[in-house]
């Protein structure tokens, strides 16, 4: 009964979404305020309906209702409670339900926080979100219904894919979806701007916090995904340029470009049509990512169930949504006039370069993603595009971007003073050069070109960012007053840039110095790896809640002293006997020691894979800093609409007086 209620609530949500999409649009054309106002209540009603639907499916998982096909496929009676909750989004149908839930959540947030938005803008934004919701609700109901019953009812389920039974994987999809779907709000603002033809500083100020918030979640989602793959896949890597990883990375690149171009649009009234285009592209790439994952067009380690009819539906939906938006763009964007001239030698000019590099990087990833399909379309051969391509094209594009980052705070809007820039950047440049020489030795005890270059750029970014804050504080009467006067957005930007630098140190040092070794070891055998002695103790069996595990004990000795005892596991899950490794990791800020247990070769010998991973944690620390920085920037009080509206009014009055 509860399952049918969930199904019914979902159909109800589709009906409400239709109202939310169509009624305000008609209201806008007819200048009917009452019709436009339906958007808000429809958005809230839709949210409630989808929450009910989602809870019903969750209930089916908690109560182990195996008469529901989706539950039978992804649940298992012995599975721990927490994984019964996360199994709801463990496969296609439920994860699409999570997607619509997140979309309804963002729409609900827009309806709550944007009460002071002009009524036509609010109505149009909610209407666009309603259209997106229709597409996805129809997708779930028509091709991926999670509420379908199964007969005969199996005695037990077949269990959640073991690689998903991990805390990282439990939180990765919701965060990623928060990011993906969050860009739908930026998209809705862009479409509303195209429809109304109004694109001014106020519009940019409305769109900015939403865009930054989406970016924040996407950043966190990607960071968790990277951490999860490092921890669970047992390959010791943190990024594989896998097609599905790229699918989440492209919107991140476009979104990063977007939050910067929005700053130019707000402060200087420039790059207007480019900002709108980026908003459309960022969201299109999110849809494209969903398509890639769900259609099975690309082969990937993320081997999700693939079904051509689903792929075709999503593709048709992308074609419709993006096609209509780009047609609207081609028609309306030419009328956006810049409020002045763009000089390259200014902050807006530098931000334009930032956008050029980010867009080029995004394009390069997209090309790598599509190239195998192009080759396969014109010939029958199969190729895959892997790390060699991505590393070759990516780093030349990101290097200049990191150099530019150092100029972020120093270069003034409108027109920059060369003398000031040189004066302010002298010391950071000097420190960065020293760091390039010293940092690799200080952190790892040896050096390499990649690490020196990474250290140089990272210290350049950090010192310039900190120097700007320092100068600001010193210009005030007291340090406390100075620190207090720094806006939250500035703190956010500084922290996010430092996060990027920390991430860069992690990436460059790790790629320069990480070492791996595969070995066949008997208990008591010792392997020497980069100054560490790994020795195998015993391997014993243990029982988990729904798996049996082989647990090895590995001792790590350095300079005659035991520094870590690791317990890599190999788990065999019931039912089905799928195997899953769980690496033994000795975490350290400066290096991880990582062991994963491989095959049993018989006669007491085991395959072991050992890694020494210097500074790998910096990559995720950097991601976290970007997340916190973005969070601070998105919640800056100046975006609160009441105050912003007042300020706009005051500014308008002042302008009227001077005119």
């Amino acid at each position: 009964m509860i399952v049918e209620l969930g199904h019914f609530a979902l159909m109800l949500a589709l009906g409400v979404a239709l109202v939310q999409a169509v009624a305000p649009l008609i209201g806008w054309f007819r200048h009917d305020a009452r019709l436009m106002a339906t958007a808000t209540s429809a958005a809230r009603a839709q949210f409630v309906a989808i929450v009910v639907s989602y809870l019903c499916l969750t209930w089916a998982f908690i109560s182990k209702d195996f008469s529901v096909a989706y539950v039978a496929q992804n649940n298992y009676s012995e599975m721990p409670f927490i994984y019964r909750l996360t199994a709801v989004w463990g496969a296609h149908e439920g994860s699409m339900l999570l997607w619509v839930l997140v979309l309804a959540g963002w729409t609900f947030a827009v309806s709550v926080f944007n009460r002071r938005l002009p009524s036509d803008m609010r109505a149009l934004v909610l209407s666009v979100l309603g259209f997106v919701s229709i597409g996805f609700l129809a997708f779930v109901l028509l091709t991926s219904d999670p509420f379908t019953r199964l007969f005969p009812v199996p005695a037990d389920g077949s269990g959640l894919n073991p690689i998903l039974q991990d805390p990282g994987m439990a939180s990765h999809p919701p965060m990623l979806y928060m990011g993906y779907v969050g860009f739908s709000v930026a998209f809705a603002f862009a479409i509303a701007a195209l429809i109304t033809g109004r694109l001014d500083a106020a519009w940019a100020r409305w769109a900015r916090p939403w865009t930054t918030a989406a970016w924040v979640f996407l950043t966190l989602g990607i960071t968790i995904g990277s951490w999860w793959s490092y921890h669970v896949l047992g390959w010791g890597g943190w990024w594989f340029w896998d097609p599905v990883e790229n699918a989440s990375f492209m919107p991140w690149l476009a979104g990063t470009a977007l939050i910067h171009s929005l700053a130019v649009t707000e402060k200087r009234g420039l790059l207007k049509s480019w900002t709108v285009l980026l908003s459309i592209l960022a969201f299109s790439l999110c849809l494209f990512g969903t398509f890639l994952v769900r259609s099975g067009v690309l082969v990937s380690v993320h081997a999700f169930a693939s079904d051509p009819s689903r792929g075709l539906f999503v593709l048709g939906f992308i074609g419709a949504v993006v096609g209509v938006s780009l047609a609207l763009y081609a028609w309306r964007a030419p009328r956006f006039k810049a409020d002045g001239e763009l000089r390259l030698w200014s902050r807006e000019g530098f931000l334009l370069f930032n956008n050029v590099f980010l867009a080029a990087a995004c394009g390069a990833v997209l090309l790598g993603e599509l190239y195998p399909l192009i080759v396969n379309a014109v010939s029958t051969s199969k190729i895959s595009v892997g790390p060699p391509y991505f590393n070759t094209v990516f780093f030349p594009l990101f290097g200049p971007l990191f150099v530019l980052l150092g100029f972020a705070g120093v270069v003034a809007w409108k027109r920059a003073q060369l003398r000031t820039i040189v004066q302010r950047l002298r010391i950071p440049l000097l420190l960065a050069l020293v760091a390039a020489a010293v940092l690799p030795f200080a952190l790892v005890g040896k050096t390499a070109v990649t690490a020196a270059a990474g250290g140089l750029l990272a210290v350049w970014i950090i010192t310039t960012a900190v120097a700007e804050l320092w100068r600001w504080v010193r210009s005030r009467n007291s340090a406390v007053a100075g620190l207090k006067s720094i806006s939250r957005a500035t703190w956010g930007m500084t922290l996010a840039h430092i996060g990027m630098a920390v991430c860069l140190i992690g990436i460059s040092f790790n790629s320069a110095f990480s070492i791996e070794r595969d070995a066949r070891m008997a208990p008591g055998a010792v392997e020497h790896l980069s100054g560490y002695d790994f020795s195998l103790g015993e391997v014993h069996a243990a029982e988990g809640p729904n798996y049996t595990a082989l647990i090895a004990t590995v001792y790590v000795v350095k300079d005659g002293e035991r520094i870590a005892t690791l317990h890599p596991q190999k788990r065999t899950f019931r039912p089905g006997g799928q195997e899953q490794t769980d690496a033994g990791v000795a975490k350290g800020a400066l290096r991880d020691l990582y062991v994963s247990l491989g095959n049993d070769f018989g006669n007491g010998t085991w395959g072991l894979r050992m890694y020494v991973e210097p500074l790998v944690r910096f990559i995720w620390y950097g991601g976290l800093l970007m997340f916190i920085g973005g969070g601070l920037a998105a919640t800056d009080p100046r975006y609160r609409l009441a105050r912003a509206a007042r300020r706009v009014r005051v500014a308008a009055d002042a302008a009227a007086e001077t005119a």
Binding site: Y329, A330, N376
Partner: protein, 186 residues
């Protein structure tokens, strides 16, 4: 109206066309059109060496051995299966049908499984195999490049791999790829 504002739309149309084309090929019956199809490097090569115990009912002590040398002389269909493999149950009725038809003898490789579990499975659903070999560690599967079961290989009388079917065997795939090669080899 300025033309450069249309560029994004033209790019989109190109990408959507490419994806739609790729997706459509996924529906065709040509294996090389399936986006998840990975050509096996083994095709046209001699079978990798193996030496496995024969699963006998009741268990024989010591168990008989079967190696690649025993394959020679007639074409063989080699099917990787396991009691824990859900997709294998999809193809099981069709394999039974083939076994009854007496057209061919299928060698089953019990992949990463226990003899007890395999016996129970075949006891319940019927045994379509001429011969079953035990591959409890998946060593043969590793050498043969099995990446998910069920997988079915066609080996000719000279011990050369001629075709590989990934995923459950279907009547269509059998008629299209296995039957012609088997008849040619006869």
């Amino acid at each position: 109206m300025r033309y450069r504002y249309f560029i994004p739309m033209i790019v989109l149309v190109g990408i959507v066309a490419l994806l739609a084309y790729t997706l459509n090929r996924g529906w065709s019956t040509q294996p090389e059109d399936d986006p998840t199809y990975v050509p096996s490097p083994l095709i046209g090569k001699t079978v990798p060496a193996f030496d496995l115990a024969v699963l006998a009912t009741p268990p024989a002590e010591p168990p008989a051995r079967f190696t690649q040398a025993d394959l020679k002389g007639r074409p063989a269909v080699i099917n990787f299966f396991a009691s824990w493999c859900v997709a294998c149950r999809d193809e099981h009725p069709f394999l039974m049908q083939l076994a009854h038809g007496d057209q061919v003898s299928i060698i089953g490789i019990d992949y990463k499984d226990t003899p007890q579990a395999a016996r129970r499975l075949l006891g319940e659903h019927g045994d379509p195999y001429h011969l079953i070999l035990e591959d409890p560690e998946g060593a043969m599967g590793l050498n043969w490049g099995v990446y998910g079961i069920p997988e079915t290989y066609l080996v000719d009388a000279h011990g050369i791999v001629r075709y590989k079917q990934v995923g459950p065997m279907t009547p269509a795939a059998w008629r299209k790829h296995f039957q012609p090669l088997l008849e040619a080899a006869r």
